[in-house]
């Protein structure tokens, strides 16, 4: 056990699984870096350094830099997974899904079903998402609701270094295609993380605190904010349960429903766009399955229905934060 950043936690999970299983390989643009160049090899380890050090240990045969050809290399990861490897492909930003979406939507997600169960596709697609980085409309999106919409994909959104390590380990060991969504503003977050490998099961939410008045379901970076708000409101006599689904698909419906059956109130907090998003997905599920328990309207906290603006002044009001969450909790308590 030691303090590790979100970045280190993921790096460690990748390293440990690569040590354990020679079929695990990495590929992506500059996942090592320096390919073909005269200077330093492993020059990048990905744009935010998450895969740094893996190429020196495992060699270029297992850590493959790629041309900028996401369809080809994400598809290659899918094809390699179907034929015996366990690739982890790096789709640098989730916003780039658009240039390789078919290989995820129609190939990775469907091969097993279309082939009557006679294929498995144990591929992991790591990708960065999220606003707050002043990275503007094409580098700041959530977009995991799009993946959650697609049957056949598992979609992971870790909320802390500890979660990230355990979920990445599971993602690599899992026999289904997994979209692993890392919030780019969390890489430097730190917490105590075990040194040895461990896997966190998919479809099991983490209840980070239990309360009596309101259930807050929050995703990714929003979990931290939800806990902050819950801390604050606790002192003011409002007691909240905070649930982190960890995997948005499969979704641990039971934990959410059971909690709402106790509290009678639901606030869902998500950073992705509101329409057909995770907030509405969870809110609707509760309105259908735990209606009798509800004492107040469900409340969704999301950004507005706009692209992500560049200007810091605008982005700061775009991203949901503690104040919006607090307002929502207070609203359902009225």
């Amino acid at each position: 056990m030691s303090k590790k950043s979100f970045r280190q936690a993921i790096n460690e999970a990748l390293r440990d699984e690569m040590r354990r299983d020679p079929r695990v390989i990495l590929m992506g643009e500059d996942v090592a870096g320096g390919m073909g160049a005269a200077g330093e090899q492993d020059a990048w380890g990905g744009p935010l350094g998450v895969t740094k050090g893996l190429m020196p240990e495992f060699g270029r045969e297992r850590v493959l830099d790629t041309p900028i050809s996401e369809s080809a290399f994400v598809g290659a990861a899918v094809g390699a997974a179907a034929t015996g490897l366990r690739p982890v492909a790096d789709l640098m930003f989730i916003d780039f899904m658009g240039v390789c979406f078919d290989q995820i939507l129609n190939q990775a997600a469907k091969l097993r079903y279309m082939f009557g169960g006679k294929a498995t596709v144990p591929v992991v697609i790591r990708t960065m998402f999220g606003a707050g980085f002043r990275a503007a409309s094409q580098h700041s999106q959530g977009l995991y609701p799009v993946f959650a919409h697609i049957p056949g994909l598992k979609v992971v959104v870790p909320s802390s270094p500890y979660e990230a390590k355990g979920l990445m380990t599971q993602a690599i060991r899992d026999d289904d295609p997994v979209i692993f969504c890392e919030h780019k503003a969390m890489y430097d977050d730190q917490e105590e993380v075990p040194d040895e490998p461990y896997a966190i099961a998919f479809g099991e939410a983490n209840v980070s605190r239990e309360g009596e008045d309101v259930t807050i379901v929050a995703i990714g970076r929003m979990v931290k904010f939800a806990n902050e708000v819950a801390d604050k409101l606790e002192k003011q006599g409002i007691s909240c349960t905070v649930i982190d689904p960890r995997t948005v698909s499969p979704l641990d419906q039971d934990t959410i429903i059971e909690s709402v059956e106790e509290t009678g109130r639901l606030v869902v907090v998500d950073e992705a766009s509101p329409r057909c998003g995770m907030a509405s997905d969870i809110a609707a599920m509760v309105a259908q399955n735990a209606f009798k328990a509800l004492k107040a309207p469900v409340k969704m906290v999301t950004p507005p229905h706009t692209p992500v603006p560049f200007s810091p002044a605008l982005e700061d009001i775009y991203v949901p934060g503690p104040s919006q969450i607090e307002a929502a909790v207070r609203a359902v308590m009225e």
Binding site: A76, G79, A80, T83, Q103, Y113
Partner: protein, 321 residues
Amino acid sequence: MELNREQLLAAYHQMRTIREFEECVHREFTGGAIPGFVHLYAGEEACAVGVCMNLSDKDYIASTHRGHGHCIAKGCDVKAMMKEIFGRKGGLCAGKGGSMHIADMSKGMMGANGIVGGGPPLICGAALTAKTLKTGGVAVAFVGDGGFNQGTTLESMNLASVWKLPVIFVLEDNGYAESTASSWSIGGEPVKRAAGFGIPGEQVDGHDFFAVYEAARKAISRTRAGEGPSFLHLKVNRYFGHFEGDATTYRRPGEVDKLRAERDCLALFRRQVEQSGLLKAQQLDAIDRETAALIDAAVVEAKAAPQPSAEDLLTDVYASY
């Protein structure tokens, strides 16, 4: 390299099986027994068989929406294929895939694909597996002339080139993508385009089994030897419409009749092996009868096969739930 009698018989057997299969599916579809979108391979048999004769089970192929021929050439079970196309239990994909998604991973057949250009990226992955695990295998991407303009195909050519993957790209240029002529839709010249990605290739008459076989043999052994991807441009024709139901008005009247009379790959094959004395007409006739009987039986069995059961709907979405 000369093919021996046994190999020649096998080649003819496969081509003939494909032809019978497709003619039969055409009849059954027209009769209303087969649902969905069906694209027939008749006329192009020499391509699939000429290429796949150079492959074994450890080698993979990725097919297109026009996948029956590739399936048969790669050794898939013909009866299970027919059941699949009828959507029945016991189908190659348990009735869940149908004609457009027919596949058998155990035979190295990674699937027909409903997405034009869907296969090449996948086949790069199969090649990467072969390279990483040092299986000695190669991987073949079949692409149509239409699919040759899809970004996924073009990217895959570059990736295979740069990663030096054991991939052979086989362009089956049957003159049309739906109703659009390949002479119009492909800018430049295919062999030069491949060369522009650093991939050597050649153009071959796709009606001529021997020409295809020989070109594929050279390309595949080069690639298998670790020299990187290769390319083949097969000029060929299809006999039926783009899909079953297409009236093919974009073709000159009589175009197909003329092709059937003059450029039929089965007839060309027969002429060549009979004239050279390699095989006798009776041997080939026997194969004709045998394959016809096989396909008849396949249809009878497919029609008798049970429908999938309701619970099958919810399985196979995930490997672990």
